[in-house]
């Protein structure tokens, strides 16, 4: 296991999920592949380069400093949320490919899954991707 565990403010992923929810809901409503592509790029940067490069994460940190939101109520390791961004990339990216390849039903269906999960994270703090990551780690250690 790589022990480089960066701790992040737990409010960051929820804030990012709220923006993701809005962006993808608008992309779906307008059936806009361009807006979907923007979100796919955001997922790709966060998943591949790390959350410190996440565009939404940087908006969060900027607002946090400017508006003085105070210290984090709790922190968490970056790995779970980063895995979730990878899941978002796979689903939204797969959706974009399907839309561009002429399968809009499948494509926008995949996008709706991401809309649902990001909405859930924003509203409750329950991060399904993080739970999957934690479960995978647990199962991996048990065997």
């Amino acid at each position: 296991m790589v022990s480089q565990t960066r701790e992040i403010d737990v409010r960051g992923p929820r804030f990012s999920a709220a923006i993701t929810f809005v962006v993808l809901a608008v992309a779906f409503a307008l059936r806009s592949p361009a807006l979907l592509a923007v979100q796919v790029a955001v997922f790709a940067i966060a998943a591949i380069a790390g959350l410190r490069w996440s565009p939404y994460g940087n908006v969060f940190r900027f607002l946090k400093r400017r508006l003085d939101w105070g210290p984090p109520p709790a922190t968490e390791p970056e790995a779970g949320p980063r895995f979730s961004q990878l899941m978002g990339l796979l689903f939204a990216g797969g959706g974009l490919v399907a839309v561009l390849a002429g399968a809009p039903g499948l494509g926008w269906g995949l996008v709706l899954i991401v809309v649902g999960l990001s909405g859930l994270l924003a509203a409750t703090g329950l991060c399904v991707g993080c739970e999957m990551y934690a479960l995978g780690r647990r199962l991996g250690r048990a065997t």
Partner: protein
Amino acid sequence: MIADLAPLVAVTGLVGVFSVFLRRRAGVARGTDDTLTAEEAAELALPEGRPAVLLFTAAGCAPCGPAKRVLEQTAARRGVDLITADVAEHPGLTAEHRIFRAPTALVLAAGGHAVARISGVPRTTEVDAALDQALASTPA
């Protein structure tokens, strides 16, 4: 146009309903009829003949810290022990008592009988009520 938006409205509505359900349930003590065996009590080093609060935590669990703080304060005020168990270190216990999410707390009466189960960051009033019940069912 309206038909185009129907799936989006449906997904958003489902998420909304589920979110309200989760938020109402978070931190609330639910009744349970679960008892830890003597071996499990030994594994966790539970105090004998006294109520205790058992908190399941996990690596990378964001709400576990706040949950632990609430329980530490309440347990100290009520004079009961708080035992924390990492789910990864107790896979058997976790499976046997169906701990699906961290943090999950069990409020135990003497003898390892769980009187309440709390998922998420516990509300202090809920922990107090559960401890009242645990203390009441403990022979003085």
